[in-house]
């Protein structure tokens, strides 16, 4: 399909910017064929263009490059639903459900899938699970009349609602993708519009609100950023980086008490991220909670022993506690790696 036909297709669908982005992503995919992100993005653009076979090949390529690429897996699964390839879709989402049994979104998709193929009993079971695991699903199903008196109800209206949810998936992700593209170009107001469209089409997806939060954060409209991050976290309370981003935003507003609370949750949800332990340590040390700060810095260094400034902070905290031997040990370790660090050298000389 040539670019003119693509453009016509998108005009019909009323999505601006599509042609430019499609051409640029296609070009970038040719230059960097081994970038899974680009393959996935191009696949998404092809879905909306109405080229499911082309889209399938790019999602598969993304997964070939990175077999753990969850977004590409979900995009492929949804594409199979669109193509009526139920068995392949079912295999993908059941495998995802086994991997993430408490992911309400996957249960929600399985519910839609079984509903489409007439397995209403299984559909009801998975929709109920999605209500159990995804707080937003309960509210949404209640609003749409699917969840009434603690039971899933299927009628003609339900059928329309579920079909709409299904059709909106790829468009929502396309708007999200365009939003990310615009945000990278620094066009934050346009990016906000795209993320808003995505959130309207697929109101249960925390990611669009998280992206909105990030654009507002970059714009400097912190109150709006906080609202969007909080919305994302209401939808997905396990979104650890959402708490971290919330914490950074509170930090910029000087609301360090709330920043600390959020960072503690971020660390709890992502205990393997050295950077989060480091930031939590800063928050503790700013509040003179040195014992807890040292504990977090040690954790950061256990994860990444080359985390240089974590070691500098640790040395300074030992100094504050008059633990000269420990402070010297940390400074010497730093100077072995960066002998030109005058600041650390001076600190070491002062206590030697």
């Amino acid at each position: 399909m040539d670019s003119e036909e693509r453009n016509r297709g998108m005009k019909e669908k009323g999505i601006p910017l599509y042609r430019r982005i499609l051409v640029e992503v296609e070009k970038e995919t040719q230059i960097h064929p081994s970038y899974a992100d680009l393959q996935n993005q191009f696949g998404l653009l092809l879905v909306v263009q109405g080229d499911p076979e082309g889209a399938e090949s790019h999602f598969l390529e993304a997964l070939h490059l990175n077999p753990k690429y969850r977004e590409a897996t979900l995009n492929l699964g949804y594409l199979y639903i669109e193509m009526g390839r139920w068995k392949e879709a079912e295999d993908i989402f059941l495998s995802e459900a086994r991997r993430h049994p408490k992911d309400g979104f996957i249960q929600h998709v399985l519910g839609i899938l079984y509903f489409q193929i007439g397995k209403r009993k299984e559909a009801a079971l998975h929709l109920q699970k999605s209500i159990q695991f995804h707080p937003y699903c309960r509210v949404y199903y209640e609003k749409k009349g699917i969840w009434k008196r603690r039971t899933i109800h299927f009628d003609q209206k339900t059928e329309r609602v579920l079909k709409k949810i299904r059709l909106n998936y790829h468009y929502a992700h396309l708007h999200n993708s365009i939003g990310l593209y615009l945000a990278q170009e620094g066009k934050s107001n346009q990016a906000v519009q795209e993320f808003r469209k995505a959130a309207k089409l697929k109101p249960d997806d925390f990611l669009f609100h998280a992206n909105l939060g990030t654009v507002y954060y970059h714009q400097g409209t912190y109150q709006k950023a906080i609202q969007e991050y909080q919305q994302a976290l209401r939808m997905n309370p396990l979104y650890g980086m959402g708490y971290a981003n919330l914490s950074y935003t509170y930090g910029l507003m000087g609301r360090t008490r709330e920043a600390l609370q959020s960072m503690e949750k971020a660390v709890l949800l992502n205990p393997r991220y050295a950077d989060l332990h480091y930031n939590l340590a800063l928050l503790y040390s700013d509040r003179k909670r040195n014992r807890e700060a040292i504990h977090e810095l040690k954790k950061a260094l256990r994860i990444n022993s080359k985390y240089l400034f974590a070691r500098v902070n640790l040395g300074v905290l030992y100094e504050d506690q008059k633990k000269w031997k420990e402070a010297k040990r940390e400074y010497r370790k730093i100077l072995k790696i960066t002998p030109e660090d005058e600041y650390v050298r001076q600190r070491l000389e002062r206590i030697s």
Partner: protein, 102 residues
């Protein structure tokens, strides 16, 4: 001078980096009692030049100067310690250096 929380400074640096034309995925930074540490490889994400190596270098240099200025104006920052693998500051001027792979 009133000391500002290290975490607040850290948040300000994060925001400056994401808003600057720099590939911040290759940069690490930390704050120790108002002293800022920045490490990694300094790369520009988008060049607005004619593409010649001289113009690219000059553009990178100007971006570094601007970044340094922004960080130094954050309230509470007493010094900035740059430890880039590919650029160093000598006698007040930024010069490229041969990158050492880690």
């Amino acid at each position: 001078m009133m000391l500002k929380d290290d975490f607040v400074i850290q948040s300000e640096i994060r925001r400056i980096l994401v808003r600057t034309n720099v590939d911040y995925s290759k940069i690490n930074f930390g704050t120790v009692k108002g002293i800022v540490y920045i490490q990694g490889a300094f790369k520009i994400s988008r060049y607005y030049t004619d593409g010649t190596s001289d113009s690219v270098q000059e553009f990178t240099r100007k971006t570094l100067v601007s970044l340094e200025k922004k960080i130094r104006t954050i309230p509470g920052v007493s010094d900035v310690n740059f430890q880039f693998r590919n650029w160093k500051k000598e006698k007040g001027r930024w010069i490229p250096k041969k990158e050492i792979e880690e």
